[in-house]
Amino acid sequence: MITLSYKGKNTFLEAVNKKSGSDVLECYQCGKCVSTCPVSNFMDFPPREIMQMIKLELKEETQMANSTWFCLTCSACSGRCPREINIPAVMEAVRHLAIEENFHPDSKQVKNIRKFHEIFLDMIKRYGRNYELRMMAEFNIRTRNLFKDMHLAPKALLKGKIPLGVKSVKSAKAIKKMYEMAEKLEQQNK
C-alpha cells in the first residue's frame, strides 16, 4: 500500500530533473520504453514504473530498485520516447543521488556493476580508451572470480578481439584534464 499526500514540493523529482536535464512529469506512461529496453525483464521495476515512482516521490523504493543499475544507457528508450525524455539520464541521475546519499541496493550484482563502472572509468582515465585485457583482468580480480568467462579467452584472442597491448590515443592528456575538471566541479557542487 502506497500512502500519498501533499507534504511540500516533490524534492526527489526536482533533484532528478535537475541532474538529468529532463522533466519526468512529461512521462505519460505509454510504456514504449519498457518494450524497447533490452534488460527491462531483469529489472525490479521497468523504466515506466521508475518514472511513476519518481512522480509519486517514492524515493526509497526508486533508489533501492536494481533498475537504475541495470540500465545499459543504450538510449534505445530515449530514442523512441514520444515525450522526448532522456530516460538513461534519469536513470543515471537516480544512480548518482543514490551514491551521494550512500543509499542503494547492497546486492552482489549491484556491487559488481559499480566495480565495472569504476574500472572502466579508470581505464579511460589512464589510456584515453578502453584496454580490454587489463579491464577484464582487473574486473575478475576485484570481483574475486578469477576464471570468469575464461573459456572464451582463446577464441577471442585468436579473433583479435583482445589486443595484447594498448595503443595510446592522441588526446590522452586532454582526457586526463577533463577528468580533473570534472572532479573539481564535483567538489565545488558538494
Binding site: S5, Y6, E49, L56
Partner: protein, 657 residues
Amino acid sequence: MARVGVFVCFCGANIADFVDVPTVVEEAKKIREVKFAIDYKYMCSDPGQQMIRDAIVQHRLTSIVVAACSPRMHEKTFRKALSDAGMNPYLLEVANIREHSSWVHQKDKKAATEKAGDLVRMAVAKSIANEQLHEISVPVTKRALVIGGGIAGIQAALDIADARIPVTLVERSPSIGGRMAQLDETFPTLDCSQCILTPKMVDVASHPYIELIPYSEVIELNGYVGNYKAKIRKKASYVNFKTCTGCGACWQKCPVKVPNEYNCGIDTRKAIYTPFPQAVPNKPVIDAEHCTMLLKGKCGICAKVCEKGSIDYKMVDEVIEREIGAVVVATGYDLWDATPYEEYGVGRYKDIINSLEFERMVSANGPTGGVPVRPSDGKVPKTVVFIKCVGSRDKAKGIEFCSKICCMYTAKHAILLHHKVHDSRAYIFYMDIRAAGKGYEEFVNRAQVETGAVYLRGRVSKIYQKGDKLMVRGEDGQLGQEVEVEADLVVLATAVIPYKENPALARLLGISYDKYGYLSEAHPKLRPVETAKAGIFLAGCTQAPKDIPDTVAQASACAAKVCGLFAGDTMKKDPMISTVNNEFCSGCQNCVQVCPYQAIVTEEIPLGHGAKEMRTVAKINEGVCQGCGSCVAICRSMAITLAGFTDPQIINEIVAI
C-alpha cells in the same frame, strides 16, 4: 391505354454482374402496356436522363419505370427528368433491382435476374395506376422559438436574429446565461467564462429581433412545421420589470435567506433575488416558495424600500401565445446526484463535493471569493483528490455513456487549484484521459507538467475518514499497487445528465428521447441537429453531453437550419400524404392513436346534407403528415387513402407477380 417506358440500368457492374440486364429488358417488352424498353450503363448520368426525356416525347409515354438503385438515391433525379420532359414527376416508379436483387442474390445470377424481372413487372403494374400529383405548398410563419437561455440558446437566438428573423427566447430561470454563467474559467485556453459570455447575454437583451421572455416555460405546442403555435407561461415575478431599475434595495433588505442555486447551495440568497450580478435581465424576482409575505402575509419590506413601487404581491402567472415556424430546444444539463455511491460516503462526509461546487468555489465571484475551502472547517485544502467517471461509464449505476467533458474540466480544476493554492497538489483518479479536441491533449499535459497534478489510473474503491482527513483508496494501475491518498478535499466529477424535465418537454413537443432523457436527433451522423419532427431542432447538452465549442457549433447549425426553413414564403412538401374520405369515416379515431406525427385530429361535420346533427370524422393536417401509411393500415372502414400508394396501385403490384 397506358403507355409505359422501362429503363433498366447496369449501374456499372453493380447490377450487371449479377442480373442479366438485357433479359430483364426483353421480359419488360413482353408486357402489353410497355411501349418502350431499353438498358443503359448509368441511367442516372446525363445521357441516361436524356434517353428518358427523348423517349417520353418520341413514344408518347404516360408513365415511366426506372429499374435501378434504391429510390432513396436517385428518385429525385429521375423525377426531375420527367418534369423536364413536360411530364408529371409523380408518374415515375423506381424498381429497386440493385439493393433488392443484385446485391443480395450474388450467388444465384438466374434467380436474381428472375427477381429483377418480377420487380419491373410490379413497378409497371403500379405505374399504370399512378395519378398526377402536385407538390404541396405550406405557408411559413417566420419566427423562431428558442427554449433555454444557456450558451446554446443564446448562440442560436443571436444567429437567427442576425438573419433578421424574429426570435422568442424562453428561459425558465430569472436570468439567461445557464451553466456557462456558473463556470470560472474555460478549457483549453483558461478564458474567463463570464467575460466571454456576458457580452453575448447583453447582445440578446438589446437585439431588435430577439424577444427575451425570462422566468417562463413553454406549456403547449400545437401545429406543424412552419406553423406552430406555442403557449408560454410567464411565472409571476411579483416585480414590475417595466418600472424596476434593478437598484437592489429590495434584496439587500429582504430578511429571508434561501440556499443559493447559482452557488450550488454553498451560500444563501434572499427570497427576492437576482441570480448573479451580471444577470440579464438584471431585475429581481420573488421566490414564492420562501417569501413570508406571499406565504403568511407578513413582512412586505421589499415593497416598503422600493422607491419605484415596482413590487406587486398580487401578480399572477400569465399565459401568452406566439405563432412560430420553428423551435430550437436547448434545455441543457444537470449533474447526477452521486448519493448511490455509498462506498464513497457521499452525503456522509462534508468534504466530498461535486465539480460544479468546486467550480463555484474557485470562481472569483463565488461564495468563497475564489479560494477552495473545506466545507467542514473552512480550511484551505492542500491535498485534493479528483475522482473522474463518478456515475459515468458505470453500468451498475445505470449510466453507460461517457460524460465527455469531465476529463477536460478536471484537468482545468487541477490547474485552477494550483493557481489559487500554490502549496497544494491534485491527485486525479481516472480510467482514461479523453482529450479529443483542439488543444485539449496539450492542456492535459500542461496540467501534469506545469502543476504536477498526479494522475493515478484506477477507480476509487472506497473513502473513509481518519482524523480530519479523508482516506481515498484506489489502485495505481501504472504501478499495479494499491494507493491511499490522505485527502483534505474530494471532488467528484459526476455524470452529466439531461435536464430532468426533458421527457415531459419532449412529449409536449412531440419529439422522442432516449432512456437517459436526452432528446433524440433524426440521424446520429447525418442529421445530428434535426429531430424526427420537422421544424424542431436540438442544440447543446439537451441532445448529448457536449463542451462549449461543440455546443456553440451545434447552436449555429440550428440557426442555419432555421434560416433555410424560412428562406421562402412557403415550404414545398411531397404530395404523398393521407386523405380521409368523410363518406366512409366512422369516427373510430384508431388513426389518431397510431399516427406517430400527431397529424390527425377530429372534426365535426353535419350528419347529412343540411342536417343539424353532427358526427365526428378524422381530419389529416397535410402540413404535418409524413406519408408513413400507418393510418391507412389501421382504418377499418378503408376511408383513408395515401396518395402515391392507393389501393389500385398496391393491388396491381400484387397481381403482377
